[in-house]
């Protein structure tokens, strides 16, 4: 995207790299019918998509792309953001997806993964920055991408090669 001016840079992140162990966590995992506490280790292998909170335009764009590319067809895509389970249920209702979403209103998971983003002009609100990881069944990170700019979108074609 050519804007003719410099896009805002995000500060350095501290996300796990390829070959490292993925930080485990347990949060309510929302599907199209209910939610229950689930450990990431029980949902891997999976593409783990950190994304800005439901309602933001990056959230909409990112999940449209996930659906169009069919990454979610076999249910192995999980999203993580700082929205409530109720918000996740509505978000899933509006979409045609088999993805499931972890509810992390405290943003603790994003902080643990080194991808937290404090929103300018929204005091006390933080969310994940866009980041995509492929975590294998042994909880090892096999692919990692983290946004460096605000906004920045995942390299979808590259990730096609990871999930394909």
């Amino acid at each position: 995207m050519e804007l003719g001016f410099e896009v805002t840079q995000l500060p350095p992140h501290d996300a796990p790299e390829e070959g490292e162990e993925a930080p485990g966590f347990t949060r309510p995992l929302v599907n199209d019918e209910y939610w229950e506490d689930a450990a990431l280790s029980d949902t891997v292998p999976a593409l783990v998509v950190f994304y800005p909170m439901n309602g933001s335009f990056p959230a909409t764009y990112i999940w449209q792309e996930v659906e169009e590319r069919g990454w979610d067809d076999d249910g192995t895509v999980v999203g993580v953001t700082a929205s409530t389970p109720y918000s996740h249920r509505r978000f899933l209702d509006e979409r045609d997806t088999d993805a499931r979403l972890f509810a992390d209103p405290s943003n603790g998971v994003a902080r643990e993964w080194g991808v937290a983003h404090e929103l300018d002009g929204m005091t006390g609100v933080e969310e994940p920055r866009p980041a995509v990881f492929y975590v294998d069944e042994g909880m090892t990170v096999r692919y990692a991408w983290v946004a460096d700019e605000h906004p920045e979108f995942p390299p979808y074609d590259e990730i096609d090669g990871v999930v394909g």
Partner: protein, 93 residues
């Protein structure tokens, strides 16, 4: 996973909280599944119990699926109450 005892519940539903209290009092392990406030969107509950009301307790140990907090409390007290060895496995995290 589905050998866990599962409680279908709604946040802040007093009937559900009553069941939770009794389960806890008897040291009975369970996994919580939270459902929609909107009654018409509780098909997951209807599939297991035939109706959309909560709480519902699904207990693989006995094969029982129970609705109505009064029934569930009675069941828990009878089956896991005094004189019985609850013998709950420590599953879950």
């Amino acid at each position: 996973m589905e050998d866990e005892r599962i409680l279908y519940r709604l946040q802040a539903c007093p009937f559900c909280e009553r069941v939770v209290r009794v389960l806890d009092e008897h040291g009975v392990d369970y996994e919580s599944r939270f459902v929609e406030p909107l009654h018409s969107e509780r098909d997951a509950v209807r599939r297991v119990s035939g109706s959309r009301t909560v709480p519902v307790l699904v207990d693989p140990e006995t094969g029982a699926t129970l609705t109505e907090s009064e029934n569930i409390v009675e069941y828990v007290e009878k089956y896991y109450g005094e004189g019985e060895d609850p013998n709950t496995d420590g599953g879950g995290d």
